[in-house]
């Protein structure tokens, strides 16, 4: 287990995002600590994905400050940005694999971009990543259109992990997966977090994922976030948070997690 220092690896202050007349975030503050898995939840349209896109620099906020690794993402030169971008990886909702390249070539895109590496070694490393995310060996030769949704997500994760980043951003990693595949994906994230010492920023709707792997949860309500461990949020009286965690699905997810924890040998 990597030691988790209390220094925030991502630090968002006073974030304001507005699209036309609609304000999505209004003075949002968020800290993500090194080595934790943080789950971002919220209703549809509450700006979960916008928050992710803002942190990785795909969306420019109206106001506010975003620091990653202690450096201001919004005010940096392109050169500094490039140095930053090989320290994080992003998994988009449907994998966002380049459709004209095979999975192996997709994984090699960031490697070729940043390092001068012999082809053979690069092929080996991409094959390692394919194995690491639990894809069968022959998946590397396939094109994204030949893969199922779950495999595309794993392939997207392999590409996000190509440069062994310190942070991975996951946008709804388990959405659209069957429960077994979703459970396997959760386990994969947990294993990778332990072995690679990743910090995971995960936007999700999946209550089971939250209970299974998240150290802390940030709930987007009233254009801000409320962050806490699950125990803290379970006691929160905010109406949305209460109905989220205490609704039938929330109760079911909690019950199943409790059952797993009580299983001997776990």
């Amino acid at each position: 287990m990597p030691d988790r220092s209390e220094e925030p690896i991502i630090c968002v202050r006073g974030l304001v995002n507005r699209f036309g007349a609609e304000t999505v975030h209004d003075g949002l503050d968020l800290d993500v600590l090194r080595g934790e898995v943080i789950g971002i939840v919220g209703g549809s349209g509450s700006g979960k994905s916008v928050l992710l896109r803002t942190i990785v620099g795909l969306n420019r906020p109206v106001e506010g400050k975003v620091e990653v690794f202690g450096r201001d993402v919004l005010r940096m030169s392109d050169r500094q940005r490039r140095q930053l971008e090989n320290r994080w990886g992003v998994l988009f909702q449907d994998g966002a694999l380049f459709s004209s390249l095979t999975v192996a070539q997709n994984i090699e895109v960031p490697i070729t971009e940043y390092y001068d590496m012999p082809l053979r070694l690069m092929d080996e490393i991409s094959a390692v990543k394919v194995g690491l995310v639990g894809l069968p060996e022959e998946a590397g030769e396939k094109y994204p259109s030949q893969l199922s949704g779950g495999m595309r997500k794993r392939a997207g994760l392999a590409r996000a992990l190509a440069l062994d980043p310190e942070i991975v951003f996951l946008d709804e990693p388990t959405a659209g997966l069957d429960p077994i595949a979703a459970g396997a994906f959760d386990e994969l994230i947990r294993d990778l977090k332990t072995s690679l010492g990743l910090t995971v920023f995960m936007v999700t709707h999946d209550l089971d994922s939250l209970f299974a792997i998240c150290d802390r949860v940030a709930v987007l309500v009233d254009k801000k976030v409320r962050v806490g461990t699950l125990e803290q949020l379970l006691r929160d009286n905010h109406p949305w948070i209460h109905s989220y965690f205490h609704g039938p699905r929330g109760r079911a997810a909690r019950a199943s997690e409790a059952a797993t924890l009580m299983t001997p040998g776990h």
Binding site: S99, S100, A104, Q105, E124, V128, V130, A162, D164, L196
Partner: protein, 378 residues
Amino acid sequence: MASVAATLVESEPGSFVFAAAGEWLVATAAEVDRRLRGLQMPSDKRVTLDLAGIDRLDTAGAWLLLRTEHDLAARGNTVEICNLRSNFAPLLDQVRAGGMVVPARHPRPAHHTIVGFLARIGEISLGIFARAYSILGFFGAVCESAGALLLRPRRLRITALVAQIEQTGVNAVPIVGLLSFLIGVVIAYQGADQLRRFGAEIYTVNLLGVGILRELGVLMTAVIIAGRSGSAFTAQIGTMRVNEEIDALSTIGLDPLEVLVLPRLFGLVLTLPMLTLWADVVGLLGGCLMSWASLGITPPQFIRQLQDSLYPWTFWIGLIKAPSFAFIIALIGCYEGFQVARSAESVGRLTTLSVVEAIFLVIVADAGFSIFFSLLQI
């Protein structure tokens, strides 16, 4: 660059120590790989991998360690790992769990060998037949749909039809007009230049009349529309395929051919003749102005000469071709749209293909018409 080291020394007879040190990361992987390949690997000995010196390790580094271990074991050595820092152990296990992976083969173009080249020629030839057969099938399905529509004309989607007429017809008026005008100018200029040598400048008008009315007016319009609307048909229908919108239509009980193809087809069949008429008029106008400017043929003279030079059929021959060209363009545009697989990349590829195919078939059809009309001797 961070320092890395990989050394192999014989500590005592028959037993080696492989010492790894420094930062074994993706950033240094190329350097580590180079050093590892430089080492003289022993066979059938005892080898200890001493990993005490490794400061930082990521998956790429872990892979290189495991590859070394595997290579040594494959040479009959007894391999043992020692002094691995405890916080690297999960990473090494994780990568080991992925197994000794075989790197994926990259798709290499097969036609780089002679056999591959020949095979490719065969493949492409067969592909052309398969394609022609499939287009014929689509043509049949469209005709069936159109026939069913004729029996129940109330099912015709007037709104969609009008929208298509606007997009493919009205909106194309400026570009078709401008290009036809320029074609008229160019023909008049070049014709005048050549015919002046024989003192036959006045026949420039004949050249313009026959050239534009019979061939160029309709052909240029068809080529412009193939590039402008044929491509749009493929892209629109293709994007709907990617989005599963076509499947949604079918499940709602709507016939995609009736909803998507017929309005486009009928729209284009109606607009292309009108655009052709427009192109003819503007082309002749351009020719007329150029003749006046460079040859001094006044517009009344131009019109009189034009009337003398044309057969009654000349104008109609051009116009008759327009609906069939429109049919070809719309059919190919929609057909290629339906061929789109579920990837964004195929939309682009097939859009290009649809334009090339449509223009090709339009010109082939034009040649066919020429032969047909010459047999009829008109």
